[in-house]
């Protein structure tokens, strides 16, 4: 974890879970594995608060624990996963994706599970049904079974998965001791569980609908109590969590599809979409290529609405295969069928586009041109850069040095003679992709952190005025609903002078802008991150 990431994690934790959890979380982030006693001692927080915070972090899937790392009988040690904390930035995007794929029900399911970290299926279904019913017009209500189908579809497409059963300390160490002496109970990956995507049987379907009219709090609470009393739905202890990896894969696929759409055309992007969809569940998350598909298979699973005839599909496929620059769709003649795989590293290309765009914004399009040139030609001398980029020598030098000082471009010395004399040395400029991506990612984290801090500052500065305006609007609403004379309202309105309202408006505008910037950057972040990780994977493979 870099300092920027730690800072951002702290801010996010504070925003979502409060100061105490933030303190515990950042301490865990900074110090790695810690046991409870050390945690309490070093954070100087009351024991019960630390316990609660750790519970919250474990519940949210951000914290894992293992026993016996320092020999048998050692205390349980906790560690936090910073990456999962950073996922919080992206929660709205996950929810929105679920909404666009599975409608309101899917949205609410994902939202509830994200908010609570992990939930049992029955609990989720009942909560979501309640919320949907609450939003429906009077007399209508949501059927549990509908929510159950939405839930099962989310599970089928691997957007939800069972959370790994955490083995409580002590019981497992004795079992593991026989097989391997060091017997370290590491946190288990959810994928190792064979039942990871298996739905449990729940007998919640029999209950059907539940009307929940908003008559009064008392009725609601009694209803709630009644519900909790007979909540023996048969899936206690089976918790579900959001499969972030799957969401990221989905984002990646979307990026590929849009890239194809902008490079070629809509139809070919639809073909690629079909290919990706066909292999989305069967391909492991970190594979470089999708499963091989035959042209026949692709043809069969194309949606009938596109009306693509078989010969045209073949033409499109050859087009995709032949595309020299961007598409890494490989074909193999395998027996008789035409096997296609989509290179998932395509997303590295998307990543490249992203940082080119960033460069454009920051240093102008001509610097971006130099950068692109270096990317394509790998190593260039300064003279060559000036010539190829078709930029006046002086400006090109300026830009190149600027890029160099920002660490976006690297300089390599190759001496002709062993004395390293500059006159007898080649100075080659190169772009090193992976470090550059990392650098930009760190910049992004820093920006997001700054944005959050700025937002906090703005809200703090304008707290009084914004609260006042809220009160005034409330009074206005109550005046209009109760039918009282508008005279009192005008009296109230006098409070808020013109500059004040302007201030409130400006402030809210600022906040809106800050948040949308946040979203944009997060998008960029995600691409860069996936680019970085996929590149790293590629390097490891090589």
């Amino acid at each position: 974890m870099t300092a920027q990431e730690e800072r951002l994690c702290g801010l996010l934790l504070q925003e979502h879970f409060g100061e105490v959890v933030e303190k515990v979380g950042t301490h865990l982030l900074c110090n790695g594995n810690l046991n409870l006693r050390a945690l309490v001692h070093e954070t100087k927080l009351p024991l019960d608060l630390v316990k609660k915070s750790v519970c919250v972090l474990v519940q949210q899937g951000m914290c894992t624990f293992c026993t016996g790392r320092r020999g048998p009988g050692a205390p349980v040690e906790y560690q936090i996963c910073g990456e999962k904390v950073l996922h919080m930035l992206r929660y709205p995007r996950y929810i929105y994706t679920a909404k666009s794929l599975y409608g309101d029900t899917g949205e609410l399911i994902v939202e509830e599970i994200l908010q609570r970290g992990q939930m049992t299926m029955s609990n989720t279904v009942s909560t979501v049904a309640d919320r949907l019913t609450h939003n429906m017009p009077e007399g209508q209500c949501m059927d549990y079974s509908e929510v159950v189908t939405a839930f099962s579809r989310l599970v089928e497409t691997h957007f939800l998965q069972r959370s790994a059963p955490m083995t409580p300390a002590g019981s497992s160490t004795s079992g593991g001791a026989d097989s391997n002496p060091p017997s370290v109970t590491e946190p288990i990956q959810p994928e190792t569980n064979p039942d990871c995507y298996k739905l449990p049987y729940i007998n919640i379907s029999g209950k059907g609908k539940r009307t929940r009219s908003d008559d009064g709090d008392a009725e609601q609470s009694t209803a709630k109590k009644a519900k909790t009393d007979n909540s023996e739905s048969g899936d206690e202890g089976i918790y579900w969590q959001v499969n972030f990896e799957r969401f990221h894969l989905h984002f990646r696929d979307q990026a590929i599809i849009s890239a194809v759409a902008s490079k070629l055309d809509q139809t070919s992007s639809e073909i690629v979409r079909t290919m990706l969809r066909m292999s989305e569940v069967t391909t492991p998350a970190n594979a470089a290529f999708t499963q091989a598909l035959s042209a026949n298979e692709i043809f069969r699973s194309l949606p009938s609405t596109y009306n693509i005839a078989r010969p045209i599909l073949d033409q499109y496929l050859t087009l995709l295969v032949d595309d020299p620059v961007c598409l890494h769709i490989y074909s193999q003649i395998h027996a008789t069928s035409f096997l296609m795989t989509v290179c998932v590293h395509l997303c590295s290309l998307v990543g490249l586009c992203h940082y080119l765009a960033m460069l454009c914004v920051r240093f102008g399009s001509r610097s971006a041109r130099i950068f692109r040139l270096l990317l394509r030609k790998r190593h260039l001398e300064q003279k060559q850069v000036e010539d190829f980029a078709m930029v006046p020598a002086k400006e090109a030098k300026d830009m190149l040095y600027k890029l160099l000082s920002e660490n976006l471009v690297q300089l390599q010395e190759i001496p002709k003679t062993p004395d390293h004399a500059p006159s007898r040395t080649f100075y080659l400029y190169t772009v090193n992709q992976l470090p550059t991506a990392r650098l930009l990612l760190q910049h992004c984290y820093k920006t997001v952190g700054n944005l959050i801090e700025r937002r906090l500052y703005e809200t703090k500065e304008n707290k009084q005025t914004s609260e006042k305006s809220m009160i005034i609007t409330k009074i206005g609403i109550s005046c209009s609903t109760t039918g009282r004379s508008p005279l009192s309202y005008t009296k109230v309105c006098v409070w808020s002078t013109c500059p004040k309202t302007l201030q409130v408006f400006v402030c809210s505008l600022h906040l809106v802008k800050l948040m949308s910037v946040n979203n944009c950057i997060d998008n960029c972040n995600r691409v860069l991150f996936s680019h970085g990780s996929s590149n790293a994977r590629a390097c490891r493979l090589k």
Binding site: V20, H41, Q59, V76, P165, G237, R362, G364
Partner: protein, 212 residues
């Protein structure tokens, strides 16, 4: 080289070979860079549209909701000097919040579970011990007396008597000792549980309910 005096940069090579001319040297920097430097290029426009707006609204709503969920842990408010009217309501709200979420203790390490407070029997051990000391002294003095008296009288009779008396006394003592032992056992258990619970201030706030 030799012709150049002191204080003039003396490179062993021609600077022009690197493409640096006299005019192209950057200006020397004075002081740290400004906090908000001038931007050369204007940033691009923000993405706009329904999608972005919706996501922004979601984010805002989420942030608001997370504040109300039981996962948002509030620090202990300091001990109040004066009892306030609103305390009643805040504590009631807190109770509701606490009852809202019970983690599945099966999937968590045991140590995280708040311990049930063991209700200690309030017994004054010191007093008891003192009492027993006094009793012992009394007993001893009594025995001494009896011994003195026993010299005069016939042995066997007295012995029986003393034994009878002594027995009675001993019974009492034993009873007391047993009580003491019981108390000590109790004390031991309490302190054992305290051990995990005692460090850190405010551990008294562990309510016996294992819920929050």
């Amino acid at each position: 080289m030799a012709g150049k005096g002191r204080g003039i940069a003396a490179f062993t090579f021609n600077l022009e070979a690197l493409g640096i001319t006299r005019g192209s040297m950057p200006e020397a920097q004075r002081g740290p860079t400004p906090l908000f430097p001038q931007i050369e290029y204007k940033p691009g426009p923000l993405k706009a549209g329904e999608e972005e707006d919706y996501m922004r609204a979601l984010k805002q709503e989420m942030r608001g909701r997370m504040k109300d969920l039981p996962f948002n842990i509030k620090p202990h408010s300091g001990k109040r000097d004066v009892e306030r009217y609103k305390d009643k309501y805040t504590s009631a709200i807190k109770k509701i919040e606490d009852g809202d979420w019970t983690p599945d203790w099966n999937s968590l390490p045991k140590e995280l579970k708040p311990q049930r407070k063991i209700i200690k029997k309030k017994t004054d051990l010191k007093k008891l011990k003192e009492m027993s000391k006094k009793d012992k002294e009394d007993l001893l003095s009594k025995l001494d007396e009896l011994e003195k008296r026993g010299d005069d009288k016939s042995d066997e009779e007295d012995e029986a008597k003393v034994e009878k008396k002594g027995d009675g006394e001993e019974d009492e003592i034993e009873g007391e000792l047993e009580e003491e032992e019981v108390e000590e056992d109790n004390d031991y258990i309490a302190s054992y549980f305290e051990d995990g619970d005692d460090f850190g201030a405010g551990s008294d706030d562990n309510i016996d309910e294992a819920t929050y």
